[in-house]
């Protein structure tokens, strides 16, 4: 590829999108995204410089936190704009085609799966629920009282502290499990993300739950209300609700072109 080569970065797939919506955002390369139509499906794509967004360049830039953050946020801005307008299947970051013909071919090849994915998310919103071990220690975490006088007393105190710690861990796991169990019936679908690494999130609390819930749009308030109630009922956990998100975690299709 030469320096001027351009590719088609795919943001999302939908069934039609209002042109005004695309005019409100800029994509990963500062470009104005546009609609590529194939039958009843539409891919929202942007023309990007392959010197910066080709496979080799991306392999470098996605491994730089600042560049990755900028690319992810720009990708998300377009996806979010489309998702507030129409039912949307967001494309995974770094889905790039040589040209719009390639995009149209993809829409045709995956038409059934994409249609199923769009039907699944239509009228629904994604919410994130994260739970951490509450920062304050449990009531029995540290034994109170004077320092032990003998080795035996020390060992017995140490064993009691270990038992208390195990009990507290058990309580946290059970709490997270019960939280997820209570939320699942309120959702159409649940996706369990891996717990976030504290080094990436900058949050030192241990994460015990990182779930995404697909909820009917008109039940969003009830869902948030339930999460708040469960957070109050589980003091051993710190619970956070994020959203609404475009349905990233639920517009998943299984077919992958070899």
């Amino acid at each position: 590829m030469n320096d001027m080569a351009r590719g088609a970065w795919v943001y999302a797939i939908c069934r039609g999108v209002d042109a005004e919506v695309l005019g409100t955002v800029r994509g990963v390369d500062g470009e104005a995204p546009r609609a590529v139509v194939g039958d009843d499906l539409t891919a929202v794509v942007g023309s990007v410089d392959l010197a910066r967004f080709g496979a080799d360049a991306l392999r470098r830039s996605l491994n730089d936190l600042d560049q990755l953050a900028a690319i992810a946020r720009a990708h998300h801005a377009v996806v979010e704009a489309v998702a507030t307008n129409r039912p949307t299947a967001p494309a995974r970051l770094a889905t790039v085609f040589e040209d719009e013909d390639g995009v149209r071919e993809m829409l045709a090849d995956h038409r059934e799966a994409l249609t199923r994915a769009l039907d699944h998310v239509a009228g629904r919103l994604e919410w994130g629920v994260k739970a951490y071990v509450a920062a304050r220690p449990g009531p029995a975490a540290e034994p109170a009282g004077p320092a032990p006088a003998t080795g035996t007393a020390y060992l017995s105190q140490r064993r009691a502290a270990l038992r208390a710690r195990e009990a507290s861990q058990h309580q946290v796991s059970a709490g997270a499990g019960s939280l997820a169990e209570r939320l699942a019936p309120l959702a159409v679908d649940v996706h369990r993300h891996r717990p976030q690494d504290p080094q990436l999130s900058g949050d030192t609390r241990a994460m015990v739950l990182n779930d995404a819930y697909l909820v009917e749009a008109d039940e969003a308030d009830a869902f948030a209300h339930t999460v708040t109630g469960l957070a109050d009922a589980h003091p051993e956990l710190s619970v956070e609700l994020t959203g609404p998100w475009p349905p990233y975690s639920f517009a998943v299709i299984e077919e992958v072109t070899p």
Binding site: E80, A94, T95, G102, V133, A231, V252, V256
Partner: protein, 78 residues
């Protein structure tokens, strides 16, 4: 995206980083996975997380962050 039930008032940098990681969970880990002709392979994208951990560990002078004493070990999932 709006954070509707954040339970602590973390420093802005932590907050920024936290919402970025929420976003990365989604844009890297999920979404419609179709291989474009120029797309990175799925394995390449999966490796982004692994590399990021290494980058962050290497730029942080004070070593690994402390884990809460009573916390279950969740990082084994990585």
């Amino acid at each position: 995206m709006t954070d509707v039930a954040r339970t602590d008032g973390g420093a802005p940098t932590t907050w920024e980083r936290a919402s970025l990681v929420d976003l990365l969970d989604r844009v890297l880990g999920t979404g419609v996975v179709i291989t474009g002709d120029i797309t990175l392979s799925i394995a390449d994208v999966d490796l982004v997380y692994v590399s990021l951990n290494a980058i962050i560990a290497s730029v942080r002078p004070d070593g690994p962050l402390p884990m809460p004493a009573a916390g279950p070990v969740v990082r084994e999932a990585w």
